[in-house]
Assembly symmetry: C2
Homo-oligomer: 116 residues x 2
């Protein structure tokens, strides 16, 4: 079967981009990763560092991020038990994405304020 499409294929780029989006999708995953990478380890610290996040959402997203091996949940058996969230080394691979989004967001905000 030959080439019968009238459009230009862009799957080379679209497919991996979609794979990445699936992992970091939603409003909260990247902010949570950023908070944990910044050094926030406790549930309530992470929650307070991200305005608007509710405990329900935070608990769910932390589980998702753990499954993707981006953070780990560490239980410390002192009395009382402490729970810490730490970034996994794999989280570092997201830095270029985070930096690109940060740069774009900064510039976008500037653009919006200037023009409108």
């Amino acid at each position: 079967m030959a080439n019968k499409m009238g459009y230009l294929s862009c799957l080379d780029t679209v497919k991996p981009v979609r794979d990445a989006i699936e992992v970091i999708n939603g409003k909260w995953k990247l902010p949570i990763i950023i908070s944990v990478m910044t050094g926030n380890e406790r549930f309530t610290d992470i929650q307070e560092s991200i305005p608007g996040v509710t405990p329900k959402v935070l608990a769910k997203e932390l589980k998702d991020l753990e499954q993707h091996q981006l953070i780990k949940r560490v239980v410390i058996n002192d009395y009382p038990v402490k729970i810490l969230y730490k970034p996994e080394p794999y989280a570092d691979t997201l830095t270029p994405i985070i930096e690109a989004l940060k740069g774009w967001g900064l510039n976008h905000r500037k653009k919006i304020f200037e023009k409108e």
Copy 2:
């Protein structure tokens, strides 16, 4: 008022990242931008270049992207009327984000296949 928080502030990064996410959120916006930047101009071409996108979703996302000045809708008054979607120069500013996501997605897929 002094510093009374027990957590580390990460708003410097979280805020602009959230601004960026708001613009490119969802499953389809980046794939559509990629398709248009690749050179697909016609509605059906864009649709066919992105497996799974429905006309309803595509129409809605194209409008969103137009509002954000990332693409423009051009009406050509031949008979029949032609409608073309073209990238705006501002779309180019997304390239670092797209490249970062592409690189990450490629590597992630490799990681998944190797390990599990």
